[in-house]
């Protein structure tokens, strides 16, 4: 987003990224807003056979078949039935081979935060076995903790594949 800034601004303003934050299981998570394509109501998805638990299924997004990822299952949070109050954030996931469109179900969309690059604290490393590479860092916004996610790592089909194998 700083692409439009002049050279002067680029050198003198701190690098700020905008993030869309959403709520899930009482925590606030944030993803880069430029990756967000749209926000929709949760209207159910066609369950995909033999899929890992965190793949809720596929939806018809104006003619495109888009997979919906259940972040509760991805984060190993307790399962909850989704209803009309839930929303789907449709995001663009960039992998090495191509760009995919995927959706994530969350409890609610919260707000848009401006987070400077230096405002991102690295997540404490506890040497946990579970992959939490998808956490880019933790930011503090108005004294609240916001977990900033790396959407490419979170929804990388290869990483998803590995998680499936671990579950199986």
């Amino acid at each position: 987003m700083n692409d439009y800034a002049t050279g002067f601004e680029r050198t003198h303003k701190p690098q700020i990224c905008q993030y869309l934050s959403f709520l899930l299981g009482g925590e606030e998570y944030a993803i880069e807003i430029l990756r967000v394509r749209e926000i929709r109501c949760w209207e159910g998805a066609a369950p995909l056979p033999n899929a890992p638990t965190f793949v809720k299924g596929m939806i018809n997004l104006r003619g495109a078949i888009v997979p919906i990822i259940d972040l509760r299952a991805r984060f190993n949070l307790p399962h909850e039935t989704y209803g009309q109050r839930n929303v789907v954030i449709v995001v663009q996931v960039e992998a090495t081979d191509k760009v995919r469109t995927m959706g994530v179900v969350v409890d609610a969309v919260s707000e848009v935060h401006d987070i400077p690059v230096e405002g991102l604290c690295p997540k404490p490393d506890l040497g946990r076995a579970m992959d939490s590479d998808f956490i880019k860092g933790i930011a503090t916004v108005e004294s609240k903790m916001v977990i900033v996610l790396d959407i490419d790592r979170l929804l990388d089909p290869q990483a998803l594949e590995q998680t499936t194998q671990e579950c199986a």
């Binding site: 998805a45 066609a46 369950p47 995909l48 056979p49 033999n50 899929a51 890992p52 638990t53 793949v55 809720k56 299924g57 596929m58 939806i59 018809n60 003619g63 495109a64 078949i65 888009v66 997979p67 259940d70 299952a73 995919r100 469109t101 995927m102 089909p157 594949e161 579950c167 199986a168």
Partner: protein, 345 residues
């Protein structure tokens, strides 16, 4: 919508002319027959098919078919036959180019491959792999370079072009009898005649082309060989029964009645029965790839969007048979069963 299907005749239509030109240039007699011109193919695929197919046809005319004298000496009709065919098979487009010429000399292919150091001197590939050597870069068995072919840039380019389209090519040949190139391409975007079926409350799609018949199964008609292996007596023979909903991990409430309808499907000569809960409409659907935004899913060849906007998955008969085979194996090993029931409700 990106519905851009064209009949393959758009590609095939150039070959009668090509064959006629080549026939007069080489002094050979050739009769060309074209089968399945109406088979629909994605426009982009059809555009990219023209070059590889032309190449294979030229090859068949130049190297495959003999001149009239040679043919008569071999006890064949003076007029050679070349056939081009296209059809849909199990979610794939299959194009075959067949001639009744002299066939490919497997010995010569091996010798040449060793000369060119494409394989080791002592290496003997299995018979069905020998012809694959033809598609390696820098391979040409033609002793002479002719106006048509034999310049060394050849079949490897054909194979590369086909791989770009996600397809592959197989070669079948018999000395003195002829050669058949079989090209298999995935139907990335195309239209399919579909039979909609219901598994519990979900709608799935079976390609009509794969269906042989549908039968009503009476309780007791299905015999159990072992855990997870069931057979049905279809007239004078036994076919394997696949419980589609179980195999795909669709949750079935125990109070639901057993599925009573069996769709007999065929894949490469093998028939199996898929137990389904209901047969719904037959309609044409547009195939959408699951790989675009996700990845390949075993047992499914894609998805489609039904008239009501809902997503339905297209069953891949070959994949299901494979899946059924491997799930029987894992069951026999008393492990991995969970794998097949991990399904989101």
């Amino acid at each position: 919508m990106r519905v851009r299907m064209v009949p393959i005749s758009a590609v095939f239509s150039r070959f009668p002319r090509l064959v006629r030109d080549v026939r007069s240039a080489l002094g050979k007699q050739v009769e060309l027959s074209v089968i399945g011109e109406g088979t629909e193919v994605d426009k982009t695929v059809s555009e990219q098919l023209a070059d590889p197919l032309t190449h294979l046809v030229r090859n068949a005319l130049d190297h495959g078919l003999e001149g009239p004298e040679d043919r008569e000496a071999a006890g064949k009709e003076a007029c050679g036959r070349l056939s081009l065919s296209a059809r849909h098979e199990g979610g794939n487009l299959v194009i075959e180019i067949e001639d009744d010429g002299r066939g490919i000399d497997a010995e010569k292919v091996l010798k040449k491959a060793r000369e060119r150091e494409l394989i080791g001197p002592a290496e003997v590939p299995p018979p069905e792999r020998i012809y694959d050597l033809l598609f390696l870069p820098g391979f040409s068995t033609a002793e002479k370079v002719s106006a048509l072919s034999g310049r060394g840039v050849g079949l490897d380019v054909v194979a590369k072009n086909l791989r770009c389209l996600g397809g592959d090519i197989q070669t079948f040949s018999e000395r003195g009898k002829g050669t058949r190139f079989s090209i298999r391409l995935p139907l990335t975007l195309s239209i399919l005649d579909a039979q909609l079926v219901r598994l519990v409350e979900h709608v799935f799609v079976i390609p009509v082309l794969a269906i042989v018949e549908s039968v009503l199964v009476r309780p007791g008609d299905v015999g159990r060989l072992s855990e997870g292996e069931e057979v049905y007596k279809l007239r004078d023979r036994y076919i394997a029964v696949i419980r589609a909903s179980e195999l795909l991990g669709v949750e079935r409430q125990p109070e639901l009645p057993e599925p009573r309808l069996m769709v007999v499907v065929e894949n490469q000569g093998q028939q199996v029965g898929l137990l389904v809960d209901d047969l719904l409409d037959q309609q044409q659907i547009v195939i959408k790839s699951l790989e675009t935004n996700y990845r390949l899913v075993p047992g499914l060849s894609g998805a489609t969007i039904l008239g009501d906007g809902k997503v339905a998955y297209i069953l891949d008969v070959a994949g299901l048979i494979h899946l059924a085979g491997s799930s029987t194996d894992t069951r026999n090993n008393h492990s991995g069963r969970k794998q097949w029931s991990s399904m989101t409700p």
